[in-house]
Each structure stands twice: as C-alpha cells, then as structure tokens.
Symmetry: C2
Subunit: 153 residues, 2 copies
C-alpha cells in the first residue's frame, strides 16, 4: 500500500530548520526533500496553524521555527499534519448488518485501537529536540561534524 510520509518529512524539515538561522524558502526545502515547493507549502501550512513554524512572504521570506524544538512532540507534529490515518489494515465495512461481521470488527477495532494508543503515547513522549540530540550524539561518536549532509541541498 502507498504510505503517508507527511510526518516523516515534516520532522526532517523541522530539524534542518533549526540549524539554519535564516528563513528557508519552500524551494530550498523542496530540494532538500526531493519534492516540490507546492507540497512543502501545503504540508507546512498545518504546522503554521499550530504555531510550530512561521512563514513570511516576499524578499528574504520563507519558513522559520515558531517555537523551540523542545516544545514540540512527535504527537504535536502528527496532529499538525492532519492526524493522518495510521493503519493500512482496515475493516471491510464499518457498519455491517451482519452480526458475525460486527464481531470481527469489534475484535479488530479493539486491537487496532490499543496499538494506536500505544503509538500516540510514544509520540507524545518524544520531543523533536530529542531527535536532534540523539543525532548529534551519534554524529559526535562517529567523529562527524553535524550539519547538512544531503547531496541535493
């Protein structure tokens, strides 16, 4: 199944945004992600509504962090990109007449809901700044100087 990479992409962008003190344009970000600026605007628009980033138009404009990475959890970002569907697995029919199918749905829903709750709980425990810190620690251990490392950027 085709998957939804919005959360993944936005986390990547936020981390790079912190490194750059200046505003980043949608074009720059699109180049980084290997995608296009319209998609970047579309997706970052959600983060702007939550105050996680701010945008400015015109000369010297672009996108900057709206608050420190330590004040955003993965859950916040997940919600900001529209709380996309988590599971590819689904029910054949949400409101079936068939009592047998209702029993199937009930059991599957319960297991899926548990897994979803666990995932969102984990997301709420992880600050975006934790990703940066983990990364910095690992890079330091390898003797690598942190920073942009993408061929596209």
């Amino acid at each position: 199944m085709r998957h939804d990479g919005r959360l993944s992409r936005m986390l990547h962008v936020l981390l790079h945004m912190e490194e750059q003190k200046r505003p980043m344009t949608s074009d720059e970000i699109a180049g980084m992600l290997g995608t296009n600026p319209a998609l970047v605007r579309r997706t970052l628009a959600g983060l702007r509504e939550g105050g996680y980033v701010v945008s400015e138009r015109g000369h010297g404009g672009g996108w900057m962090l709206g608050k420190p990475l330590s004040e955003m959890t993965l859950r916040d970002v997940y919600d900001a990109v529209g709380a996309p569907e988590i599971f590819a697995l689904g029910l054949a029919d949400d409101q079936p007449q068939c009592l047998v199918e209702q029993a199937v749905n009930m059991a599957l829903r319960q297991s899926l809901d548990e897994a979803k709750a666990l995932l969102l709980r984990r997301f709420a425990e992880i600050r975006v700044s934790d990703l940066r810190d983990d990364f910095a620690a690992r890079a330091a251990a390898l003797g690598i100087i942190p920073g942009m490392s993408c061929a596209d950027a």
Copy 2:
C-alpha cells in the same frame, strides 16, 4: 488512504463457513461479502496453503474449513492472507544519506515497531473461535438466534 480489508473479510468468511456444514462456493461467499468470486478465490488461496481451509472443484465443490476455528489465531489468518502492510504511516525514504533524516527514521521505526509488535501479539492471543463465542454470547443476551443475518445472503 485506501485500506486493506483482507484480514477482516477472511475472518468473516471463516465464521460463516463454520455455520454451514456443506461446502460454500466462491459465488456464495462473494455475494455475502458484497464482492466477486475471483477475489474470494484469490484471497482464500492463501488460507488454503496454511491448511485453514480446503477447496474442492466440480459439482458440489466449494470451500470448507480445514481445521477447527479454535486452532487458528488472528495472527495465523493475518499471515495466511500475505501479512499485509500494517501501517499507512511511512518513511519518506528508507535509506537516506541525510543523517538528520536517519535520526527521524530511527525514532519513527522504533515507535512503529513497538506498535506492530503489540498488535501482532494481540492477534496471536485471539483465536478465531473466540470471535464466534463472543458473538454467540452477545446474540444470546439480546435474544437473537444466531445465524446468517445478511440481506445479501
């Protein structure tokens, strides 16, 4: 995102199959599920390989259970339908050069893997016969006679 209903559908079929002692044709099953016989054959083929159902061709042929529902778990059925992708959420790039993106991937993978492990553990704990029992108990409590209740069937 479009979701994968194979597990859900196959559980539904297995439960109905137990009620009927005679073989059920792909056409009957397709009518039940509101789908078509080719899809039924395609999906049940996986269950046949695991011995969960058996099929017979020709006059009076069709599909029957290959073992009792108490000897199949949801995990077994999940595997038999091809262990489909569980998550709609995915990574933008599985093997990125960018160290920042690697950090994002690592964090997301860990959370997703935990949720997946929990889900599959739950699936392994639930026997298909448990669904039938739950259903029967609830139906009895409501004073409903268990059996086919689908308008299509």
